[in-house]
Symmetry: C2
Subunit: 367 residues, 2 copies
């Protein structure tokens, strides 16, 4: 057997995966889930006009590598110019490019302990050194993140607003104020995957061209197009241009570009989905309280439910729900892992949740 | 203005793009092309069942990150097992991962001078040092490639069969024979993007699990799904597994997975498309000869037409065709750049080619 001549860095990397997909779990269970509330997908789906546009897109043509029309539409929507916007294969893809642009082996990067693991995966993948600060209660802690960035000389600092997995949110004004302590050599990656689900006050009141921050948004959540893989970055034109040095120029799916354009144009649909998300959050909160559990106030399309004990207990509750056929996930690290995280669902999905959660809880308490 | 703290490697990279998309050219021309024969897309399109499957796919769900069903179907089709197969965001995406797995800064890589520029882009993007060997006539030269790999201690050597941009092909047996001189520490990347368009003898008669080679194939060409971005790598399981260390696990488009599955299942459609491609190649050859030009014998879905002089002349012919509204491309380097490269088209597309090529040629000769 030949030994493959991988790079030293490659050899050092684990083959672990940030998230195991529900299909993998279904294959090992030998049956499908009855409801899918684990990946913060949008069960209410994309605008019908997006579905139509995708069905009609010519699949034989490569996509426009500049995503010109989508960037132009996003620029109009955001009241900025297209040179502030880069479109990519989901936020995950953009995170990979961004880390690659900035992080050489040994470079310091800061995030919260328990924040988005795919970011950590990319940092490790390029040999960066991750420094983590704890959450402050159920919130990421911008002041602590930026202080740590200064302490370790971080190239990048990651902050999600609203947060995943807790759903908590900071006002944009609070983040802007904390940014006065952001070191000049540190770029803030502000992951706004769930921003449409939050109040308008969550928006960072800082110019899109400000070189201190790059914002990441997506069509996967509120717009309901997770399967299409369309994310976008908003930042200073010089930074946006740098993506062209490393990205897969023909990486975008053509019908996904068309779908995102149509979804963006249908703000009425978005509003109706956001109303359904808000109603669903309330219902999940109510179901949790009925079981004697404490829901964490959420500004995203999911609710973290505090199971009231430690991670081992929450894991038992989660396993019980999964064994009943409900796909859900939970935070990876303590103390957030005392929670289970339930994505917003249809009324039928939540009837199912209301049915099985008490039983899963009971079983967890008895085991 | 903050200076961005890009890595040293990032700073050294040009912002150039391997290929400018036809949409970019259309925007600068201020009008659409009348025919699109420049990117070796498949104008005959994918199987109707693939189009249907894509239209019906649930866009709100993330794709299965393992592409389990597609890998299983490919394994059946290839008479191998799924652990020999990795699915990714087109061959371009897989090339990026592959280079990243193997190439650290300063590592040697070998390719042919004038072969696929996107491979070169990724090698440069990870700091690899490219060594190029000339074509031998209109063919890539496996013996010279492998000798150069030995000379420079290359981690990777790239070979396309059939070749792009010339369309020439080696028998799989000839490549296998040349591989006896492939150094033990060099991995052969065999780009088989056009393999379905070639005779069966082009297939490399070497076990898919042979650790010396990784094959790259795609649904973008014969299967007509360029817009969907579905490529796959076939190789030794240990090598295939390594992709999991660096890839964007949720990078695949869900409807693209469904479309590829349906396209693979419809081998009748594939056969009918291949017949149309073969007929189209003959027609392009005939059009070239009618103009007094020499077509290069092609085993792909395009024909390189030797314009009989140097690159400057061929560029003038190409510019003439583009100005008449026909999107075509040409090889980037001498001596292949004496050719223009025309993708297979519909009869109407080729009527158009037959109409404008004589004029473009005449104008090139007169200017």
């Amino acid at each position: 057997m030949t030994e493959f001549k991988f790079t030293k860095l490659t050899k050092s990397l684990p083959a672990t995966v940030p998230f195991v997909g529900p299909e993998t779990q279904e294959r090992s269970r030998g049956k499908r889930f009855n409801a899918r509330l684990g990946a913060n997908e949008n069960v209410f789906g994309p605008s019908p006009s997006a579905i139509r546009a995708m069905a009609e897109a010519p699949q034989w043509m490569y996509a426009d590598p500049e995503s010109h029309d989508l960037r132009a539409a996003l620029a109009r929507h955001l009241q900025t110019t297209p040179d502030h916007i880069m479109v990519g294969e989901g936020i995950d893809g953009l995170l990979s490019y961004l880390v690659r642009l900035f992080v050489a082996q040994g470079d310091a990067v800061v995030t919260s302990d328990g924040a988005y693991p795919t970011f950590n995966y990319h940092v490790a993948g390029f040999g960066g050194i991750l420094h983590k600060v704890p959450y402050k209660g159920d919130f990421e802690d911008p002041a602590a993140l930026f202080a740590k960035a200064k302490e370790v000389g971080a190239k990048l600092v990651y902050l999600a607003n609203p947060d995943n997995p807790m759903g908590s949110v900071h006002s944009g004004a609070a983040i802007a104020e904390a940014m006065t302590a952001l070191p000049a050599d540190t770029l803030l990656i502000l992951d706004e995957a769930y921003i449409e689900c939050a109040a308008a006050s969550a928006e960072l009141p800082i110019d899109f061209g400000d070189p201190r921050v790059i914002r990441l948004r997506t069509f996967s959540k509120a717009y309901g197009l997770a399967g299409a893989r369309v994310g976008y970055a908003i930042g200073a034109p010089e930074l946006i241009l740098a993506f062209n040095k490393v990205r897969n120029h023909f990486g975008m799916n053509r019908s996904a570009q068309e779908g995102a354009l149509a979804a963006l144009a249908d703000q009425n649909w978005l509003r109706s989905v956001l109303a359904q998300i808000a109603a669903s959050r309330l219902r999940i909160e109510k179901i949790a309280r009925t079981c004697g559990l404490q829901p964490i106030k959420s500004s995203a399309n999911f609710v973290a439910i505090d199971c009231g004990r430690d991670g081992t207990f929450a894991r038992r509750v989660l396993d019980g729900m999964i064994s009943e056929g409900l796909f859900v996930r939970m935070p990876f690290v303590a103390p957030q892992d005392r929670c289970i995280r339930v994505s917003c669902g249809t009324p039928a999905d939540l009837d199912y949740l209301a049915d099985i959660l008490p039983r899963a809880l009971q079983n967890a308490e008895n085991s």
